[in-house]
């Protein structure tokens, strides 16, 4: 009996249902899955190029599908620990104040990609409405697509 109930994209939507105020954007990116996924999970390289809230990152530990990252926050210039669950097509990241998720699956020569963002601070959605969060996520998806096309 297969244990695979949800593909990564469906799984991200299920996770979003359990996180108050989570924003999710899903698009088909015009780049092959391998290039997209390599770009999205290039924590020490590409991450700071597409993620506006990260100015740099360093992997401090890898243990199977668990990764620990130390990321630098721009402007405020502090470092924060980010815990990650990483599998092929699945990346869920959590820091003290945020949750971010990326899920992908091949779709022909292109890639269906979903991106989630949520603040872990009560009332955070009041300071950043859902529509603005989705605009930021959409912009990040375009950057990932551009970087992946350059890579692929």
């Amino acid at each position: 009996m297969s244990l695979q109930v949800l593909d990564p994209i469906e799984r991200l939507h299920v996770i979003a249902a359990g996180i108050p105020g989570a924003a999710v954007v899903e698009r088909v990116l015009d780049a092959p899955f391998d290039a997209v996924w390599a770009t999205a999970t290039d924590f020490e390289g590409a991450l700071s190029c597409f993620e506006v809230s990260v100015s740099g990152a360093r992997v401090v530990e890898r243990d199977g599908d668990r990764v620990t990252l130390e990321s630098r926050v721009p402007v405020l210039r502090f470092r924060q620990r980010v815990d990650i669950h990483l599998r092929e097509g699945w990346c869920l990241m959590q820091g003290r104040g945020f949750v971010a998720g990326m899920a992908a699956r091949p779709e022909g020569d292109r890639t269906r990609f979903a991106h989630l963002e949520a603040a872990r601070v009560p009332g955070a959605r009041l300071t950043q409405p859902l529509i603005r969060a989705k605009m930021i996520l959409t912009r990040e998806l375009r950057r990932i697509e551009k970087l992946a096309r350059a890579r692929g």
Binding site: M1, V5, V14, G18, P20, L92, Q94, A118
Partner: protein, 162 residues
């Protein structure tokens, strides 16, 4: 028995805990849905998992997680089987009953039952729940479970011997 600290963490907004909980619950939910919703099991399981995750904070006792999830999965599976209809075949991944040929025969007979009858046989005879537990999950009276189970088994027997 679920890891109660994992359930508590997921309830308090820990996304990685929720992610781990999903790994544990998804196969369990799919098993229930496959038995009842047959080839609509994937749709039913997805709806059930959405409902479980969305309502997780309302679960007061983490140790009751599986019973609570089973109730939601059964409800979604019966709903999917009724509303989507056109149940054409049982998936081959349904757990075998020992002899593979016997398993095929049993699955074929189960397929001929309506979703409500299939649900009661799955809960009582495959999941091993009591009549009281099955009644609670299905949201019907104990007497209804008894009569429905009697009819379902009679129908199964009738088809089996035909």
């Amino acid at each position: 028995m679920p890891d109660t600290s994992l359930v508590r963490a997921a309830q308090s907004g820990d996304a990685l805990a929720l992610d781990r909980l999903l790994d544990e619950l998804a196969p369990f939910v799919l098993r229930i849905c496959r038995g009842i919703a047959l080839n609509h099991a994937d749709d039913a399981a997805q709806e059930a998992l959405l409902a479980i995750v969305r309502n997780l904070r309302s679960l007061r006792e983490p140790r009751a997680l599986h019973g609570w999830a089973r109730r939601i999965a059964t409800r979604e599976a019966v709903r999917a089987a009724r509303s989507l209809g056109g149940v054409a075949e049982l998936p081959l991944e349904v757990p075998a009953y020992g002899d593979p040929l016997l398993g095929v025969e049993v699955r074929d007979q189960l397929e001929r039952l309506d979703p409500a009858q299939r649900a009661i046989i799955i809960l009582r005879d495959l999941e091993g729940l009591s009549e009281e537990q099955a009644a609670e999950i299905l949201g019907v009276a104990h007497g209804t479970v008894k009569s429905r189970l009697h009819r379902a088994r009679a129908r199964f027997r009738e088809e089996w011997l035909a």
